[in-house]
């Protein structure tokens, strides 16, 4: 596959993932905005929520609500943040587990042996979901343990080096989970534990480590861009609204595309894996 075709295919495959983030993202966002509308709908300070002093204003909103033992809309905003976002994240995990199978099937070399996108989604949903659940726990345990161990080095090496090492470890662990997901498809197996072990052996090779470290950069970049959007010059301007909308969605799409590229990289890396396995068609 040429680079151009790979780019085109990964862009197309990113669309359903992006759309899922849009739909799921709208749930907590809508709840929060309902709260904010009743709290600030006609208040002159609402434009300042977009300014550099937004954290001061947000603090004031929370503290006045605490003082007054409640404020219209604040409970909705809190519900969106405390319940809505975590629920959406769990739902996104499930949706990703569904879409990942289709994306990996679409990226599998050899058109004749591929499942269709939606058939791939259906086929690999449960193994992929189990991998997401188990992988999430393993990621938290491993990254916490290794981060603590690396943190112990802070006596001898600078904090900057420690932080970079900790981030690098996390990037490799995340890559390991992507490899396991790709191995499920390439080896046509539903053995999550077995593929985690196989991916573990593969993930520690120099090339995969390099790949995941490199792919960690755009992932972090996308997150940074979302946290640091361009300043809003005039909160009462339609143009500023459009810019904010376009930037947010462009970043979200880039984020989705980055995920697909990571799956593509995992698929390529698993091609080099030496252990073949009999293909099992799952229901």
């Amino acid at each position: 596959m040429t680079a151009g075709r790979l780019v085109g295919r990964t862009l197309r495959l990113a669309v359903p993932l992006y759309l899922s983030t849009l739909v799921l993202g709208l749930i907590p966002t809508s709840i929060a905005m309902l709260g904010l509308a009743s709290l600030a709908g006609d208040r002159p300070w609402r434009g300042e929520l977009l300014g550099p002093g937004w954290l001061n204003l947000a603090t004031e909103i929370v503290m006045e609500a605490v003082y007054a033992k409640g404020a219209p809309g604040v409970s909705l905003v809190l519900a969106a943040a405390v319940i809505g976002v975590p629920v959406a994240m769990l739902a996104q995990l499930a949706v990703y587990s569904l879409l990942a199978g289709g994306i990996l099937e679409a990226l599998r070399p050899g058109a004749d042996s591929r499942l269709t996108f939606w058939a791939g989604c259906r086929t690999w949903f449960w193994p992929s979901l189990r991998l997401s659940m188990l992988g999430g726990v393993l990621f938290l345990l491993l990254s916490a343990t290794l981060s603590v161990l690396v943190g112990l080095l802070a006596r001898w090496i600078s904090q900057e080096v420690v932080l970079v090492l900790q981030l690098a470890i996390q990037a490799v662990i995340l890559g390991w989970l992507e490899l396991a997901r790709a191995l499920l498809v390439t080896r046509s197996t539903r053995s999550v534990g077995g593929m985690l072990l196989a991916a573990g052996r593969l993930a520690l090779r120099p090339l995969p480590v390099m790949v995941w470290l490199l792919l960690g950069l755009p992932t972090a970049g996308v997150l940074l861009a979302a946290v640091l959007p361009p300043a809003v010059g005039d909160p009462y301007s339609v143009l500023d609204l459009l810019v904010a909308l376009a930037f947010g969605q462009a970043v979200a799409f880039l984020g989705a595309w980055t995920r697909v590229i990571r799956l593509a990289a995992a698929m390529r890396l698993t091609q080099a894996a030496p252990v073949p396995a009999p293909r099992v068609r799952a229901g």
Partner: protein, 639 residues
Amino acid sequence: MTRSSQTGPAGRRRIAPVRAIILVGLLVAVSLGPIRGAHAQGSGTAAPASVDTASYDLTANWNASVNQIAGTATITYRNHSADTLGELYLKLYLNAFRSEDTLWMRESNGQHRGSDYDPHQPGWIRLERLRLLDTGEDVLPASIDPDATVLRVPLPAARAIRPDETVRLDVAWTSQLPRVFARTGVAGDFVMAGQWYPKLAVYDRGAWDTEPWHANAEFFADFGSYSLALTVPADYVTGATGTRQGSVTNPNGTVTVQYRADSVSDVAWTAWPGYRMATTVIEAAGRPVELELLAPRTMSQSEDKRYFGAAQGALDRLGRWFGAYPWPKLTLVVPAPDAPGAGGMEYPSLVTLDLPISAPFNLGRGVRLVEIVTVHEIAHQWVPLQLATNEAREAWLDEGFADYATTRVMGEMFGPDRSVVELGPFRLGYEEVHRTQYLLAAVNQPLAYPSWQYPDFVAYGATVYSKGTMVLLTLERTAGSERFLPAMRGHFDRWRWRHPTTADLQGSLEAGLGTSLDGFFRPLVYGTGVAEYGVGSASATQATVERRGDVALPIQVATVDADGRVERQSWSGDAARLDVAAQAGEIRRVQVDPDGSIAVEPLRLDDGRDLVPSPLPLATLAARILGLVQAALLAGLLG
């Protein structure tokens, strides 16, 4: 002095002869009457400005093996009052740390600013000699409560101290320093000695300050001259109140360092072999000031400029606003990493600070705790270290002032909305931090109130620091900085080297501003009044502004018409409501207190309304939040 005597310049003029008569009567009564005793709260005349009331020639011999100071002192007390004093009171602060059963410990539950008291390393002070130097008479009481933090010392009748007379005491004692706790103590070979010697209590307005030391309380002392001969192991680096006069190396491997300070109310010292020293000379409000930084050797030298920069920014601004820093030197002490309880305290010409936050890529510098603590402690160089307020009885006078001044200085140095945190899009100002504490625990607490009577440490801290700041900011903003700062300067000029009270501050500000502030001080300083305003009904032709609290403050009301024209009107704020009619065009926006002057108003978010609200700001915000949530959803996939 009664409150009613402070209702404004006219009122003062009317009662001035009456006060003079009362004063003369009091003087006569005192000179003919019995010797004055102790009272919980004086109500007589304030003592005149004096920098030689209580002077100390101190020696301190540090014994590192047992963490004890062997101290001697000649204390010279001059009676500047109009009363004859038949007794003295000594404050023995370290006894608060003798055991878990002391008053201080019972009040604090053995905790202070996040540090725990170590009962295995207690602190105490034991008087071993107390004589009248000139006659040799022993005045050490036969029985002393070992837990007492205040000691009554009766004087022989013939030795009662008449007005303008001086008494000299010859004192010897031993101080056991605790494991660092509540500002003082040891941690390994680090030593921070605060409140380490017997200190004379204050006699002012006809009474001794006999209050024991409480957990939610600091100190109160007279001014004088101090000399200190400090003997420590030769490898220790030392710092102390005042200026270093010289040092002598002793044959036993110790060094004796001499310090001297004038016009100060205390002396503290620190010693540690782990210190490194950096010095610089700055100009502050037209005067040179030597800055000496004592910091752990492990602290990066690149951090020094943060301490020096904050010190210069504070000394220069506070000097211009309230009068120049009066001493030639300021010592900045950054305690050892395992002694955080020693940080964040003011002594004359010496402040103890906090270590920088340790974070990679200098991210810690985006949180300006170093600067805030430095500026706050330096602000204390004005109150209580030039205006020696009673920090226990009216803590807001020094803590409220210090954080009001810190808010001002930090706002000028870094910007009001980012003076605490500036990390990319995360910016937080010190005023908002105080608003948080004020709203959490202080709105319904009085300010001028004994610190030990607040229900808990949170209420005490939130009130004296944060409500104090809100009250002073409100006073400044409603009066205007151009009038308020000179009025405050007048307060400093009038009360420097004295013991002003809240009433004296009110009197100074009333004199400076030319208006009565009784309607402000009575509910907001002495009482628990609430200033609250909001927009009631509003239409294109008329809007109603409502006073919803029990405190009336002068306030601005602004309306904006469809063409963006702003009409402002002043409202005394004392009626229940104000109707505002459209002037030229239709009203589109009503805003109470558009400049945010009423910092004490608890609910400020309801101060404005748009009559034709545009959905664009919230729509743009929704677009931003949506993008951020989507990115978070993708980041949360974990592989």
